[in-house]
Subunit: 146 residues, 2 copies
């Protein structure tokens, strides 16, 4: 390993730690935000996706969440029992169901969304408006390479 490579190695090592730490902090932030509500993290994620995109077919939702339809079936049933989502048959394709948020589900979605908004405020505060803009534009740029 030559001098240049060694330099990169140490630098990248540091970057790696920063990214890992950031990721872990985000995880526990999300966890702590969710732990005041009646739903788990995975359940909140489901609610968020429907909240963002509106009514979806089970298959589509499973794809977005990255789980099998079997997994989704049981999650959906639990959330249905708790009153956050409701489902209805697609009259066009009778194999298919639509899943959407109930009033209670929308409420939960709004609360959660509000917490995200606060988080963003904190970030913009910490970096300043100009730096924040650069930061988020870089974050966006990265979405191709991760």
């Amino acid at each position: 390993m030559n001098k240049e490579d060694q330099k990169d190695s140490d630098l990248f090592e540091g970057y790696s730690r920063i990214l890992t730490e950031f990721f872990e902090r985000m995880n526990s932030w999300e966890q702590s935000v969710v732990s005041g509500t009646g739903v788990s993290l995975a359940q909140m994620h489901l609610i968020e996706v429907i909240g963002n995109r509106g009514e979806l077919r089970m298959k589509e939702l499973a794809g977005i969440l990255g789980v099998t339809t079997g997994t989704l079936t049981v999650m959906a049933h639990r959330l249905e029992e708790k009153g956050y989502v409701s489902r209805s048959k697609d009259e066009q394709d009778k194999r298919s169901y639509f899943i959407r948020l109930t009033e209670q589900g929308v409420q939960e979605y709004r609360n959660h969304h509000h917490m995200h908004f606060h988080l963003i405020e904190g970030i913009v505060d910490a970096l300043g408006e100009e730096e924040a803009e650069i930061f988020f534009s870089n974050l966006k740029k990265l979405q191709g390479s991760i």
Copy 2:
């Protein structure tokens, strides 16, 4: 809501989506990286922590991972059975155990670490060296506010 607030609202909305998307991509990157190995994501995380910090007491490790000692006991047993970690009594405090990586555990840690390194290379490539430096320094700055 006045005009300024409205502007922030839309802007922050966009930022929020970028951050959420980044977070989700990182999650599935991590998931996909782990899914070629013999260990789960949570197990890899445990291996990573010991790999970074070296031998630890069960209590300390549970604290770092953010789980109860009960949870850790069962995870550690499973990883012990699979041959990734080993444990030994602390001769000073006989209630306590040290947990460390076996040779196989170290191997798994190195492989995973290597994947992280690649990820960082990808990021630096995508942003360019100067921008990358700014990006990571901002990421670091945020660790106080999340």
